[in-house]
Symmetry: C2
Subunit: 221 residues, 2 copies
Amino acid sequence: MAGKVFVSVSMSLDGFSAPESMDGIFATPEQREQDPRLAHWVAQWMELQSWIFPLRFFRENLKLGEGGEEGRANDIVRETFERTGASIMGRRMFDLGERSWPAEAPFHTPVFVLTHNRRDPWERPGGTTFHFVDDGIHRALERAREAASDRDVRIAGGSETILQYVNAGLVDEFSIALAPVLFGAGTRLFDGVNASKVALEPIRSEPSTRVTHLTYSVRPR
Amino acid sequence: MAGKVFVSVSMSLDGFSAPESMDGIFATPEQREQDPRLAHWVAQWMELQSWIFPLRFFRENLKLGEGGEEGRANDIVRETFERTGASIMGRRMFDLGERSWPAEAPFHTPVFVLTHNRRDPWERPGGTTFHFVDDGIHRALERAREAASDRDVRIAGGSETILQYVNAGLVDEFSIALAPVLFGAGTRLFDGVNASKVALEPIRSEPSTRVTHLTYSVRPR
């Protein structure tokens, strides 16, 4: 009973899913003062994600505190979590997360990290185990499918990892929270997509308070 | 009784509002055979616009024939037409249109064309008069506002003209028909936007059969 392979990310209206660099996240005040771009990149990232921070499910899952907004956006975030039986992410996303997530990491499922460096599985409290896969995206997906059983596999990010899976024809469904933000520069979600091979079919389009939740099925063309 | 200044365009999910070139539109079969990109660009353009071609209002206004699809998308296209008291466009868009529009051009209002070459107004049957403005975007907008009276002014395109007005803080409202298409390359709608000066506020987001109709108010930031 194979589940789907899906993507769910935030994108600015001009197509960016991340600022030029995430270096600002862990920069010291001194570093930020020396390089004003660091603060700018953090501000962009926060603005892109600002729809999700106040949501009750997100706050509780990230251990940011009790309470928060309920409603459709919150339901969508919870549904995305609940359908996910395993996640796949790139090494850079893991490295960032390793420094940001609470000890009880927010996945509560196996997570497969694409890497060139072997490393033993890393088990966290609450059911998240990170597995480090150094034999390619197909093998990582095989392992994630097996771990997810009848639930879905999420290609979590970053955009380079997402595009590798999209271009290999391995993604069934693509969800975007389209934010009312213009970046002007940064990391484009679809940079390098093989547009001649990838077709999208709209499944649904649903506004919440701050963003539009777009869902497409992905097919070869 | 000043109306609004608005934009209404189609955009691919990866942020393109036109292919790399529109040269394919008028290419001969021989030219298309010699340069396969010409056919590719036309195919991209057709796919981006494919949501609008079957609509009854669009077909009748472009003299493509009687009949066509009704429903929400058709209403949106008609409402966009009805609110428009004058349009502004760049010279390249006009040049393309001059070879494509029917004699009864589809505007039925004054149209102000930004150009460096003076030319007498060109009056078409059905109420469209093209005025050629060589003294800048502010002056073109003044004249368009005056002509539109209490109706709205549409910045019709292309994207370079749209961005000039957005970056000058002269656009009040931005509507995008977001199409389930990936271009991979072409003309980006927001290429060159002054992201640090332009803020968007969602007004509404409405799906129709093929596209999502996104409307934002535009503010300085």
